[in-house]
Symmetry: none
Subunit: 156 residues, 2 copies
Amino acid sequence: MARLSDTIEEFLKLLLKESEGQLEIQRNELANYFECAPSQINYVLATRFSLEQGYYIESRRGGGGYIRIVHLDIEDDDYIYRLITEQIGVKISQGESENIITGLLEREIITPREASIMKAAIDDKSIAIPASLRDNVRASILKGMLTAILASYEES
Amino acid sequence: MARLSDTIEEFLKLLLKESEGQLEIQRNELANYFECAPSQINYVLATRFSLEQGYYIESRRGGGGYIRIVHLDIEDDDYIYRLITEQIGVKISQGESENIITGLLEREIITPREASIMKAAIDDKSIAIPASLRDNVRASILKGMLTAILASYEES
DNA sequence: ACAAGGAAAGGTCAAAGATAGTCAAAAGCA
DNA sequence: TGCTTTTGACTATCTTTGACCTTTCCTTGT
């Protein structure tokens, strides 16, 4: 007996193929369709549609809420993807972060203005919290911004 | 199910474009047109046409009453400066921050990709620290990024 | 003229409704 | 036994509605 999570995963991946890598669902509707708890949908998304697996999730609560799943079209050697999944760990210093951003600029992956914005976001002055936490927050901010850049390739 | 509030927002922004940034409506008439409670109009105005999003609302009650919506027409650098010095305090929520960023995008002060990067930087998921600190950190990150954008105007 | 009262707006706020998220316990399976 | 899956209680967020309030304008009686 195939696990329900696998069935839902397949279903979503089929829909994604049919819709050019972008998909919007309603959690309750889908849970209803598969007769499962709504939170199982979150489980499936967390375990099968993570960033490491090349997916980007966006959602909104309240009336008219939705969950959007984007299949990122990533090559194995994608520079940004590897930064996110391999180079940047759970913590990173300001200096290292700046080097990464400068590297992106040199490769013309980002514009000079994007580089300034990103550097401002990961600056110690912006992240004014105890040092024990700062490098962790910086790492997640940097990864978040890089993910946004990856996802931006899917738009249009 | 599309949100009615979004429909009303679009409708008003279309009208605003056609009328050079200034518009007068009658609350009841509009509510009637969209078959909703009059107070929903106030909701739309409060959540989508706030000062931080670059709009100014003026109204009058009584016979011949009206609501005037004005799309603030100020220079880009001035607009950013006011955001930094007046709209953003020492703390700010994710929602308000997103509104500000969306406002910049609508004015074409930033590009869609810059908007995505900025939204990623101020996301709760990126700033994973105790709530008591989060909004303060977010405010300084946002101000930092805005300052970077402001600086990009000087360099040319 | 003028005060009073009613009509015609718009404003506020809290409750109800509609979604999605989190987390840990229970259940299933290898 | 130890990992994965499933479930459900509780939480967070966004939207819609309705009851009640305030302001302004107009009419009418004196």
